[in-house]
Symmetry: C2
Subunit: 180 residues, 2 copies
């Protein structure tokens, strides 16, 4: 990718998350992002169609990082590593999430958090749907899957505002309270 495009993209992301720390998503105008990023008006629209798309792009970028290992493992059909147990996998994801903490906190701080959480839950459905096979109960499978996904995503949301805990702590909390 052209060095200029990368630079512009980065400037926009940083301006955007910076603004999210100060004010809510809906109160941020495209013009403010443009000014903060110090780019031309038409340049912004050459990269992103709307503010919403910018948010989605940012979420995608974050999750590509967080779930990068899982995705890679899916492509290489290496069954030995696929059998990693769920506890290790969850802890691993928590480590990655911690890396993007600053971005995530900004996004979660207002309405835009809903978009982030939606993205997040979509990834988690894949993560937990396999795990669910092992358990049986008189509760609909679909309910349990949604339950696990929400447990974990909300655990992460909580964690983002409680920095004192480590990834291992959070993993332990999660498995203590979740119905595994």
């Amino acid at each position: 990718m052209d060095r200029r495009r990368k630079k512009t993209r980065k400037a926009v992301f940083e301006a955007f998350t910076g603004l999210l720390e100060k004010k809510s998503y809906s109160n941020i105008s495209v013009q403010e992002i443009i000014d903060a990023a110090d780019i031309g008006r038409s340049t912004f629209y050459a990269h992103f169609e709307t503010k919403d798309e910018l948010l989605r792009a940012l979420c995608t970028e974050i999750f590509e990082h967080v779930f990068s290992d899982d995705l890679r493992r899916e492509n290489t059909h290496d069954f030995s590593t696929q059998k990693k147990d769920i506890v290790a996998e969850v802890t691993h994801i928590l480590y990655h999430l911690n890396d993007s903490r600053t971005y995530i906190k900004s996004i979660l701080s207002c309405e835009s958090g809903e978009v982030f959480m939606k993205f997040f839950r979509e990834y988690l459905v894949q993560l937990f749907s396999g795990e669910l096979e092992k358990h049986s109960s008189d509760v609909p499978r679909e309910y349990m899957l949604n339950h696990l996904v929400c447990d974990f995503s909300e655990t992460v949301r909580w964690w983002m505002n409680h920095e004192q805990y480590s990834a291992e702590d959070i993993s332990r909390f999660f498995f203590s309270a979740a119905p595994f």
Copy 2:
């Protein structure tokens, strides 16, 4: 309250929820609500300062209904009824939620859902914080409280899209999966 005010208020709420079924919150303009409610522009602004305030007013109205008994009980210092067990209480709230199902589904269908969920969680914190005393664990109390609140609010969100289940079913699912 003046009959006209009641009528207008009702017309706005109905127009708003009707629109929410068709398109997302942020894509609904005040003018569309005004047209759908068939009222004058200035009339809308005489009732609600902004679209956001309308959403909050609608949420407040819903929760005043859903939690009406709890609130009443709080005022009358009747300790005999205060000791109602949590299962009955939860089931009771689910019944009330079912009454407002149409409204709630509309609100939850897009970004406005976040506002609804936020309101909802605030009420639930009160409901569950007492219940938590009874349990002990090596997990922070604050985490457990948030966990219960999210479990329940997300259970309700799930329920709204799975009409085939009764309030009793949902109550059972919730207590099966929650760490009680």
